[in-house]
């Protein structure tokens, strides 16, 4: 092929005079600084006050309107109080549950169990996820089973767990683990999969050892996915816990929110049922707001992944 011949051309390029160069160094720095200033737009943070007005006010107003409409309906239509209790009945029910201490006990029991189950799930799911992410063969073999387990409603384990462990806390923990472990492990795997290969290459090029690569590069990089997995794991823990507490009541199983719900049902106490549902909802949202939302927000913000602003 004719293009394959090598012509070694030599061109002489005139240099910029050395005298001009020294003077131009400052010029160059100003130029670069000017460009940097033009290209970085400081993000305008909205004030906390503004954020509350924008974010909290509308749902609260809607909620208030809904409660008002509900009360209105109860006053106007006078439905059977055992089928449609009014907001006041529900509030009174919460007050009663609070004053006789059952509410606090149930919330504490459920939270303690949910928290403990979640922590055990994290302790199991994290190494499992790491193993799956780094050991290809294991992943090929175990991955589909684990995804399958995520499809299986953890509530299906309740009857088996009761037969194995009786009506004890072990049953509750087992069900919680079956729900939370797969999603935590899968979250970590997904997080590690999403680590850009470029970052690994940079780590290697910088001379990181295998361990350093894992601890200084891969794990921090996989953190957002891991956190998402943890959040989902918590949701699963909480759901499974409620299911387990509702189904497996009695025996030596402590008195949690699920048990309170089921007891209210047994007493055909609809205000109590609704009150408990509200408490479960409230606790779930609170945990997300207190434990996960700030962690996630600060993590995403520090990496510039937060979806904010108008653009």
């Amino acid at each position: 092929m004719p293009t394959d011949t090598n012509t070694s051309t030599s061109t002489t390029v005139p240099s910029i005079p050395a005298a001009a160069r020294a003077a131009s160094n400052d010029d160059f720095r100003t130029l670069e600084a000017g460009l940097d200033a033009l290209q970085t737009v400081p993000l305008a943070e909205r004030g906390p006050w503004r954020r509350i007005v924008d974010g909290v006010l509308p749902p609260v107003l809607l909620l208030a309107a809904l409660v008002l409409a509900w009360q209105f309906y109860v006053v106007i239509a006078q439905p059977r109080p055992d089928l449609v209790p009014g907001p006041f009945n529900v509030a009174a029910s919460i007050g009663e549950l609070w004053s006789n201490g059952r509410l606090q006990q149930a919330v504490l029991t459920s939270l303690a169990r949910g928290g403990a189950g979640f922590l055990i799930a994290v302790a199991i799911g994290t190494p499992l996820g790491l193993l799956l992410a780094e050991w290809r063969l294991l992943r090929r073999a175990l991955g589909p089973l684990l995804s399958g387990l995520q499809v299986l409603p953890s509530v299906a384990w309740v009857p088996a767990a009761i037969i194995w462990f009786g009506l004890t806390d072990a049953t509750v923990y087992f069900v919680v683990l079956m729900g939370a472990v797969p999603s935590i492990a899968n979250g970590l795997v997904a997080g590690i999969d999403q680590v850009p290969p470029q970052l690994r290459r940079v780590g290697t090029v910088l001379g990181a050892s295998r361990l350093q690569l894992a601890t200084l590069v891969i794990l921090p990089a996989a953190l957002p996915g891991y956190l998402a997995g943890l959040k989902q794991g918590w949701a699963f823990s909480w759901r499974s816990l409620m299911a387990a507490e509702i189904i497996a009541m009695g025996g030596s199983i402590g008195f949690g929110l699920g048990s309170m719900l089921q007891q209210s049902r047994d007493l055909a106490d609809l205000p109590g049922v609704l009150a408990t549902i509200l408490v479960i909802l409230f606790v779930g949202i609170l945990v997300e707001l207190i434990a996960f939302a700030p962690a996630e927000r600060s993590l995403l913000r520090r990496r510039g992944l937060a979806s904010g602003g108008t653009r």
Binding site: I162, I163, W164, F165, G166, L167, T168, A170, G250, G251, S252, D266, A268
Partner: protein, 330 residues
């Protein structure tokens, strides 16, 4: 080959965990606990108790080792024994007999009116459930365990049954006491079939005293003390028919916060007989009925009973021994 019986006796146990229901048919437990008869008899062995609301949960607790002994209906006991190949439990005494019936809404006057109705039972495969299915079969009705057939059988929690009956969603129920009485007194139901009428002498087991086989093997003395306390409790019930309602109600109120009405409890007590005889001879019949209606699998019942402690206690009191009908030690 049973693992439980291979264990060697290890002297009296430190504690005994007893399960029971808050039901009139479990009155020996209620009275024994309320009047301290069981605790007295157990001496140094600490007694703790747990309330259950259904047979399966009780069996599960026994299997998981969460309790050591329980008052329970005969069918769950048989079920567990067969499923575990005879390794799980032993019946050490009877507790109550009678006290179950089919109650129906107004307008159902005979078996002929039952076609197309929905009848509740406490639980699939429990004593009343099997009785209903067997009886319906004899009346010529098709039933199945999925709620289909000519008469729909809906295994439903007893408390739920009362509510459903009141709102007209079910037409009747085959339930034990005090639910029969509650349905009759509180919800206007009428008794269509008294289960007692289906058995020779009207005697059929409703509640027995069950012990985990490992526990029995390890602590025979403790089991014997339990049986003695239980016997005392049954004797007290037989001897004080007038006081028993009050004692039972006290214990029920203590457990659930709610007692039964005077009328209900009186009517209920009049339909139940308390006896330490487990009526062992009826068990093969019970199992046969269960197998026929498809809620149980055939199996051997040999070894289900260990009545040696009971008979020893009875001998001490000078009462005739009861028979294990060839299904275990006497």
């Amino acid at each position: 080959s049973a693992q439980g019986s291979a264990a060697t006796p290890a002297g009296p146990a430190e504690e005994l965990r007893l399960g029971y229901f808050d039901n009139v048919t479990h009155a020996p437990a209620l009275v024994g606990l309320e009047k301290g008869l069981l605790a007295d008899s157990l001496g140094d062995t600490e007694l703790s108790s747990q309330v259950f609301s259904a047979g399966p949960a009780t069996i599960e607790a026994l299997s998981a080792g969460a309790i050591d002994a329980a008052y329970i209906g005969p069918n769950p006991a048989v079920n567990s024994f067969i499923k575990s190949a005879g390794q799980s439990v032993r019946i050490v005494a009877g507790a109550a007999s009678g006290g179950a019936a089919l109650v129906v809404r107004a307008g159902i006057d005979g078996p002929a009116d039952l076609a197309g109705t929905t009848i509740a039972t406490p639980q699939l495969g429990n004593t009343q459930d099997v009785a209903l299915r067997a009886w319906l079969g004899e009346q010529g009705y098709d039933t199945d365990t999925t709620g289909g057939g000519q008469v729909h059988i809906a295994p439903t929690d007893n408390a739920q049954t009362l509510a459903l009956f009141r709102s007209g969603k079910i037409d009747g129920a085959w339930v034990p006491e005090p639910w029969v009485s509650r349905l009759v007194q509180d919800a206007g139901a009428t008794v269509l079939v008294d289960e007692a009428s289906l058995w020779p002498d009207g005697a059929f087991p409703t509640t027995v005293l069950l012990v985990r086989s490992e526990y029995l093997a390890e602590h025979p003395e403790t089991v014997r003390a339990l049986v003695a306390g239980h016997t005392a409790s049954v004797d007290w019930l037989t001897a004080h028919p007038d006081e028993s309602a009050a004692v039972i109600n006290t214990k029920l109120t203590e457990d659930t916060g709610k007692g039964l009405s005077e009328a209900v409890i009186t009517r209920a007590l009049s339909h139940v007989t308390f006896t330490t005889d487990p009526l062992a001879a009826t068990f093969p019949v019970l199992l046969g009925a269960g197998v026929t209606v498809g809620t149980a699998k055939p199996g051997k019942l040999a070894g289900l009973f260990d009545l040696s402690a009971l008979n020893a206690v009875r001998a001490e009191a000078g009462v005739a021994p009861v028979s294990a009908a060839g299904l275990g030690t006497e």
